[in-house]
């Protein structure tokens, strides 16, 4: 076996053990609050918005995301910020300001449940089943990637890592349900920043700050890496995507699809204690989200300048996925090293826990409680949810071993999103903002959207359509899947029976009384949302 890249000592292991101990204790202490289904699946709808907001962000800040984005930054340069300032902020603000009143206001417990009330049973079934499969695959990917990383990096045995992480996640989700998951995500948020900022600090110090960074790139003729927008006129830029792909594919369809319809993130907002807190959840998350590029983009750029593996004389086609790990080895002494490893471990485990909690909720409410055993007492469903957690973790272990067969996990994940989330966003957009959308329209639109993504993927893989990069293919696939869903939903709706507008009250814009504005202007979601958009625009201009 290859020698591990990083050697840990007792202090590092103490830091890792401390985190696991705290997580299990938090899960155990939540056990006594888990009395009803709402407690277990929706945290009793009782959490303040700072907690749900940070969890909302962290649910998406998994270790794969961080490692992948550092890799993207080493590969594509500053253009990586598009995943944040174009690909996240507008969608998060839109969710909070415009969509959350329908999600939270209608008191639905899950995203598929909204689809049932707005469209029909079939639409819900299609979404519930595809989402359940997707979450369990994602949870397996987290588990697999973690075990693989720790094997290469630290020399931990693969099977032991898989089993150990699965047991820890199982324990705290079994005891504390969604609350455990959310609390872990908030703790992870702080660990990620505290664990990775030393790398950013040391990196900038070594290259001479931002000015030194820019000067060194200019001196080596790699200036395009330092601009986010300037070179997007054609697809002849580091990303290999033109402005249409970035704005429509990533900024509009992929990002809105993910942030506004993926139950994994929406569930966090539904756990809020009131509608104002629910609407503030994604908006509070937007501000730290804008700063995440500090953690991922700067290390990627620094790596190109300081790591011998990435010097221009080195062999090209370097494996960028290990960029972050190499930087940790390069800069961090034992002690801080343990903290950084703990941050990664925390985000792997919370990535898995988030998927498992989303899975047990969808399984219990939308599949078991709708098609298998209807109308049982609440306590029965809590029990089912707990057992679904056990089964979900077991299947995740299975899918972790399936993931062994895939070469590039980030591409695999983006692909899954473009299949399921991108078309779903059209279904939601029409459902929430056009009262004419019918049940049949919703179902056929969603189905055709998913099939369009599949067809596009097939044509791309067979070489019938060409793009400059896999990323461009993903962006355009998302766009076409969305468009197909949008057009088919409208087309079918025009020829099928409309719902009685009275049934749609609370579900559709224009048939729902506007949420009362908060007395104090500084607690209004729209005010903070507008501010978030303004800051994002300013950041885009600065790094043009």
């Amino acid at each position: 076996m290859q020698a591990p890249i990083i050697a840990l000592n007792a202090v590092d292991y103490a830091i890792i053990a401390g985190y696991i101990l705290v997580m299990v204790l938090v899960g155990y202490s939540l056990k006594k609050y888990m009395k009803t289904g709402e407690d277990f699946f929706l945290s009793g709808r009782s959490l303040p918005s700072w907690i749900t907001g940070l969890a909302f962000l962290s649910a998406n800040l998994g270790a794969l995301e961080i490692i992948g984005m550092v890799a993207n930054s080493a590969k594509y340069g500053i253009a990586t910020v598009h995943f944040y300032w174009v690909g996240a902020i507008p969608a998060m603000v839109f969710l909070g300001v415009f969509m959350m009143p329908f999600y939270y206001g209608s008191r639905v417990r899950t995203v598929p449940e909204y689809l049932k009330r707005r469209y029909n049973e079939r639409t819900r079934g299609l979404n519930a089943i595809s989402f359940a499969i997707m979450t369990i695959l994602m949870s397996g990917i987290s588990l697999y990637a973690m075990a693989l990383l720790f094997k290469v990096m630290l020399g931990w045995p693969f099977h032991t890592s898989v089993l150990f992480a699965a047991v820890v996640v199982l324990l705290y989700v079994f005891w504390g349900g969604l609350s455990s998951s959310i609390y872990n995500e908030v703790i992870q948020f702080f660990l990620i920043w505290l664990g990775l900022l030393p790398i950013v600090f040391l990196g900038l110090r070594q290259v001479g700050g931002f000015a030194g960074l820019a000067a060194k790139f200019a001196a080596t003729m790699r200036e395009p890496l330092l601009h986010s927008i300037k070179f997007l006129g054609t697809s002849n830029n580091p990303l290999g995507v033109d402005w249409f792909g970035v704005v429509m594919g990533l900024g509009f369809v992929l990002s809105f699809g993910y942030w506004t319809t993926d139950f994994l993130v929406v569930q966090r907002a539904l756990a809020s204690k009131n509608i104002n807190a629910a609407r503030m959840t994604p908006i509070i998350a937007a501000f730290p989200k804008m700063l995440v590029p500090i953690l991922v983009v700067i290390p990627g750029l620094v790596a190109l300048l300081v790591l011998p593996q990435y010097s221009q004389s080195a062999v090209p086609a370097t494996d960028y996925n290990s960029t972050l790990i190499l930087l940790m080895k390069y800069y961090l002494p034992n002690g801080l090293l343990g903290l950084a490893i703990t941050a990664l471990l925390a985000s792997f485990m919370s990535g898995m826990a988030g998927n498992v909690t989303a899975f047990n909720t969808i399984w219990t409410y939308d599949i078991y409680g709708s098609y298998i055993r209807k109308g049982r007492p609440d306590a029965h469903y809590v029990k089912v949810g707990k057992w679904a957690t056990v089964v979900g973790v077991l299947i995740s272990i299975g899918t972790a071993y399936i993931a062994l067969g895939f070469k590039n996990l980030m591409d695999y994940m983006q692909l899954i999103f473009s299949f399921f989330n991108a078309p779903l966003f059209a279904t939601f957009l029409l459902g929430m903002f056009w009262r004419g959308a019918t049940g049949a329209g919703g179902f056929w639109g969603l189905l055709v959207g998913i099939l369009t993504a599949a067809g596009h993927y097939l044509l791309f893989k067979l070489g019938v359509i060409h793009y400059h990069s896999d990323m461009a293919a993903n962006f355009y696939q998302a766009w076409w899947a969305w468009l197909a869903d949008f057009v088919v939903t409208i087309g079918v709706s025009l020829f099928t029976a409309k719902r009685d507008p009275k049934e749609l009250a609370g579900l559709v814009f224009g048939l729902t009384p506007k949420p009362k504005a908060h007395r104090r202007w500084y607690a209004r979601p729209a005010v903070w949302g507008a501010l978030a958009i303004a800051v994002a625009v300013a950041l885009n201009l600065i790094f043009w």
Partner: protein
Amino acid sequence: MSDPIETQGPETPDSGAGMSQGHVLDLKLPIGWLLSAYGVLLTVYGLVTKKEMYQISLGLNLNLAWGILMIVIGGGFLLAAFLKKGRKAG
């Protein structure tokens, strides 16, 4: 922390029968304890380790500096939690 958003506004939905009483575990406590414990560990470790170990971190004893920072942040969370508890009790 006087977070304006955290305070219950008039739009809080009625707590009808069957609603939970809320999860009273204050998350500031475990965060505060964990970060302070890490801070103490790193500070002590930074004090007992030799300078040579910090060549890779550009000669800076970052364990010490970061440990102190984490004690401050963790302590802040604990302080906020205790102040809140005191307010409720008083």
